[in-house]
Amino acid sequence: MSAFVTALGNLFKKPATVCYPFEPTYKPTDYRGLIEHVPEVCIWCRRCEIDCLSGAIVFSQDLEGQQTFHYNPYVCIYCGECVAVCPKEGSIFQIAANAAPAVKAQDVNNQWGITFDNAVESRKVYMAEKKRLADLKKAEQAAAAAEAKAAAAATVTTAAAVTPAEQIATAAPIVPPPSEPTAPTAE
């Protein structure tokens, strides 16, 4: 009987639902929302990228080694694992705001795929460049050492007044490395 009265009363009550886009819905104060990153505090260890479940975080790297944080709120599952694993307090945190609805023109899924692949590629390029520079430096050092050895042998035989160290400094000036990127190695 009371249910019947309630049903009649409901005819004259406001609806229990919320008229959502025009009125805000219920949202708790510490709602789990978007991930924010502070580059000034970050130590660039990439733990958040490694431990991200859905692959919503990726770091790209330019040739100087400077990393950039990329984040896709439409791939993110808002689990907060990146915040939990971060070793540096305050460099990544979760705010209570939602992502705005994406529209078709933004093409978020395809664009994110491209961004992700480019970021991974840029890190490979950086590593290849680093390796190339290291190899170059190693070869230069080896050449300088060989030259110094030859010169030392020459000094021993000819008993010249020039010391080996001076000879290295004059014989092998350090060549500044070229800055153009090399093509990534095929893998």
Binding site: T6, A16, D30, I77
Partner: protein, 362 residues
């Protein structure tokens, strides 16, 4: 022999929430035989957990197995990994896990009751029940920070602490919800038109339920005393928080409704006890041990007994993870219950099973 017709229900059907296919053989209006096809939504989560994800991420991944009993899956996975890594979690974390599991049970049971009402043809009761369910959804959102995927249990404890204002919020909202549930109880118990579709419909005997290994409210409504909360005490201390097993004898849709509503009262009592006696201390005990050996954990999800099995080999990735969802255990009984009922009762019977096929197919 009368002429028989095979009527398919599903995999997409207006009365089904989940992709489940029943093949019902009918004579006139009576169902004489039934068959079920499952596993339309297999996603390979178990394989992903042992190949792609580290063991610390597994509780968050298996939470995605099911939208309704997310916290049960997450807690079971966290507990089984805690067993493998031999981590003892703080008492406060245990209490908070139980709090969220019970809040989850409230919203899941209210959803099931709403769908039984809807599939029995009582749309208004569906609306009322879903409106009241919103309280429990808001509470889960304020406790866990998300409405559906809670991500609450992690390996070693829980993700976030219960703030005092959220605890006060739980008390005020449950105080509003309790009289509503009492009103719903009265309707589900005494409404005559609902009883036509529920009383004596879809009945199963205690012997058959035991024989077919039914679990959860389906078995308890038939009088089988099976509840993980009654059997295990080592991982979550249910009994000291006022757990009490709800049993019925009839085994029909009406009895399942009554079991679910009475379990809501038990959940209210457990939540009150948790809030009043929440111990102080840490919420998580993070260790760096690697999982080794094998272990089994059982958790009482809203639909029944949920089992997680895991094996580790001292690496960061588990060697094997097996999830046995409650609906999987119930399929045998679900098929058997149809026999002898009217075809028109099938939607209400299906809703009263509370099937969760995304759990079952994983």
């Amino acid at each position: 022999m009368k002429q028989q017709f095979e009527i398919p229900v599903g995999a997409q059907h207006i009365s089904l929430l989940e992709p489940l296919h029943f093949k019902l053989t009918t004579e006139n209006e009576t169902i004489v035989d039934a068959d079920a096809n499952l596993y339309y939504v297999h996603r390979g989560i178990e394989n992903a957990c042992v190949t792609k994800f580290k063991y610390r991420q597994v509780p968050l991944v298996v939470g995605r197995v099911c939208g309704l009993c997310s916290v049960s899956h997450g807690t079971a996975a966290a507990q089984v990994i805690e067993k493998l890594t031999k981590v003892e979690i703080p008492l406060r974390a245990k209490y908070l896990r139980m709090l969220v599991i019970e809040l989850d049970r409230i919203h899941s049971h209210l959803l099931c009751l709403a769908h039984v009402a809807e599939n029995s043809g009582f749309e208004a009761l569906f609306m009322q029940t879903m409106r009241d369910r919103e309280y429990s959804m808001e509470l889960l959102e304020s406790v866990c920070g998300n409405r559906v995927q809670y991500d609450y249990s992690i390996v070693g404890g829980v993700n976030r602490d219960l703030r005092p204002d959220v605890a006060a919020d739980i008390k005020t909202k449950l105080a509003l919800l309790k009289p509503r549930v009492q009103a719903l109880h009265e309707v589900f118990e005494t409404n005559w038109s609902l009883s036509l579709k529920n009383k004596g419909v879809g009945a199963i005997s205690k012997e058959l339920a035991m024989k077919l290994n039914a679990v959860g409210p389906l078995a308890r409504a038939a009088g089988v005393p099976i509840d993980v909360r009654n059997e295990t005490e080592d991982l979550l201390p249910w009994k000291e928080l006022g757990f009490e097993m709800i049993l019925d004898t009839a085994g029909d849709v009406y009895a399942r409704n009554m079991v679910r509503i009475k379990e809501l009262y038990v959940a209210f009592r457990i939540i009150d006890n948790i809030l009043n006696g929440l111990p102080e201390g840490d919420i998580a005990n993070i260790s760096k041990a690697l999982p080794e050996g094998e272990a089994i954990v059982r958790v009482e999800a809203p639909r029944g007994e949920l089992m997680h099995y895991a094996r580790g080999n001292k690496t960061n990735v588990l060697e094997r993870l097996k999830i046995k969802a409650p609906t999987f255990s119930n399929v045998g009984a679900m098929v058997e219950i149809f026999k002898g009922n009217q075809y028109a009762s099938a939607p209400a019977i299906i809703a009263s099973y509370d099937p969760c096929l995304s759990c079952t197919a994983r």
